[in-house]
Amino acid sequence: MACATCLTHGSDVATPGDKLLEVDHLCVTFATEAGAAKVLDGVNLTIRAGEIMGLVGESGCGKTTLANTILGILAGNARAEAGRVWFAGEDLFALPQRRMARDVRGRRITFIPQDPFGSFNPLFSVGAQTRELMKWKSPRRAPGEHQGLAGFFARYPRARRRADAEAIVQMLRSVQMPDPAATAGKLPHEFSGGQRQRLMIALALLPQPQLVIADEPTTALDVTIQAQILKLLKQLAKSRGISVLFTTHDLGTAYEICDRITVMYAGQEVESAPVADFFGRPQHPYTVRLLESLPRPGRELREIGGEIPRLIDPPSGCRFHPRCARASEICRKERPPATSLGGGHEVRCYHPVETPP
């Protein structure tokens, strides 16, 4: 192939432990009526191959923005001011948009949306939408096959179509869709929320990606359905060795499926740790307070107090300092550097909490 950085798929699934995705000091601003909102301000994140990474934080802290930045589908008024996104050794920002759309999005990185209701086009059958995806993103697609504008009217090669159709049925079976054969003809509204979310998972896995970005995939679901979906997603990701960036604000779900968890606060990551460490000995005051505000039997309810900052003129230094009891002068001035506590546990705090195990 002409381009050295283009990887063929299937053959080179990165071995566990390799860095698959690395987000390096990413800054994103949104131009709004009131001014520029610094929604992401130096976010760092690393996902290793085969790992499920949880990204948790309050609503509005920038989780979706981060996911969209990685996928390169930021809204028109957003701008990545600084930082890099490395994916399997490639600088995604350096990649031309067309290559990004053709080779990365939906192919090597796929997406599971939060809202299984709105993310299907209500007017096209599920089958048609699946076929559309596979026409462009099937792992069996030859590299040079009808591209760009010419592909707009191009036919879907017969042989591949048949192979893809088989793969689709297979996949529907693995996500436990009842009656996979009948699925294709139905319209999205004929499925329940849980079924639609399962379809979304199937669509995300069909192109055999290396990374799946799941943006709060279960918040729209009921507890029992959520449990089913989480179980399914975890099983499939693990069995296929796919990395997942799992975005949520629900600590409970994060606990369920993640290997590691990164906490974000107002556009900055504050702590990142393996799941056991994260819940066992949280270091950042924000993480601690977050965990404390979960309702637990026999414990008083405790809120964090204060308000999340406005992103137009965020607090200087550590963005949490206005709400932090431990804040000192330096917290107001400078963002704390990442401190490694070993075992992949990193925290950005000048005054970490020494929690007893």
Partner: protein
């Protein structure tokens, strides 16, 4: 316990007509299908169940937003089931419904002050000055600064909107408040502060709550008793601790098993329930849970198990409970 119940619901049901594309009725959606329970003064009754099981419909039927299709609602001993809109208006101040989505329950074009004054204008004969005083007091009690009075709903955060929603209801000093999912969509920290507020208000105003939620951990933190709903029915009812300690209905058990338990066993390893909630237009015969129930047997398809007492204060609708 010997006090007369504040609210008594008997066999309440609510059916929504199902229409085809031409507006002809072709069936009924049994959103609520024979629900009975009692709420005593000062008590918090939790209603749990998954989306679409009829929780909001129940709350709205109590608040008079939906007319009941059957059954009776006794509030303070009087039957308020079939009363007219005008009669209903006299009950409204005492029995209030607090929306699942408080942001949307406020008129987006009205300032907080105007929204708060509205119930007082309708239900009281207070002068403008007295109203302002009352509003100021309530606002303080829900923990909002007076400066927020001139803001519009969209200028408030989710937690603040919820506080305004509560304040609007509390201006009339109700006796029973139906709280419809008061914490859904909130971040944990905001959720904690709202729950705290609800407790404080309950003490301050001697309120009773009908606490609707799908989050069992929240219910556990707030409620005295819990009723579990499934597909328009109550399938189990018991004091909160009993539910968590010895629930009997398989659906309650599944629900409990579906809540992530941080630090404990992972539900992704243990959870076993399969299938989807039934279509409320065509519920399965017999026990409605049988299509998903791990314990389901042939008899379950034939008999619709009634809610029956299985322990002091505990009732369940399962043949095997």
């Amino acid at each position: 316990m010997s006090q007369p119940p504040l609210l008594e619901v008997e066999g309440l049901s609510r059916h929504f007509p199902v229409r085809n594309m031409f507006g002809w009725q072709i069936g009924a959606l049994r959103a609520l299908d024979g629900v009975s329970f009692k709420v005593r003064p000062g008590e918090t009754l939790g209603i749990v169940g998954e989306s679409g099981c009829g929780k909001s419909t129940l709350g709205k039927a109590l608040a008079g937003i939906h007319a009941a299709s059957g059954g009776r609602i006794l509030f303070e001993g009087t039957d308020i089931t079939g009363c007219s809109a005008v009669q209903r208006r006299s009950v409204a101040p005492k029995l209030q419904y607090c929306y699942q989505d408080p942001g949307n329950s406020l008129d987006p074009r009205w300032t907080v002050r105007r929204s708060l004054a509205e119930p007082l204008i309708v239900h009281s004969a207070l002068t403008a000055r007295e109203r302002d005083a009352r509003i100021a007091k309530i606002l303080e009690q829900v923990g909002l600064p007076l400066t927020h009075l001139e803001l519009y709903p969209h200028e408030l955060s989710g937690g603040q909107q919820r506080r305004v929603g509560l304040a609007r209801i509390l201006t009339l000093y109700p006796r029973l408040v139906v709280l419809d999912e008061p914490t859904s969509g909130l971040d944990v920290s905001v959720q904690a502060s709202v729950l705290k507020l609800l407790r404080e208000l309950q003490a301050a105003f001697t309120l009773s709550y009908l606490f609707i939620s799908h989050d069992l951990s929240v219910v556990r933190a707030m409620c005295d008793r819990v009723a579990v709903m499934y597909a328009g029915r109550i399938v189990e009812e018991a004091p909160t601790e009993r539910i968590f300690a010895s629930a009997k209905h398989p659906y309650t058990l599944s629900l409990l098993a579906a809540i992530p338990n941080i630090g404990g066993e992972r539900i992704t390893d243990t959870f076993a329930l399969e299938g989807e909630p039934p279509d409320p237009v065509r519920p399965p015969s017999g026990c409605r849970f049988r299509t998903r129930c791990p314990r389901a047997a042939a008899v379950c398809a034939g008999t619709d198990p009634p809610l029956r007492r299985i322990a002091p204060g505990q009732a369940a609708a399962c043949l095997f409970a």
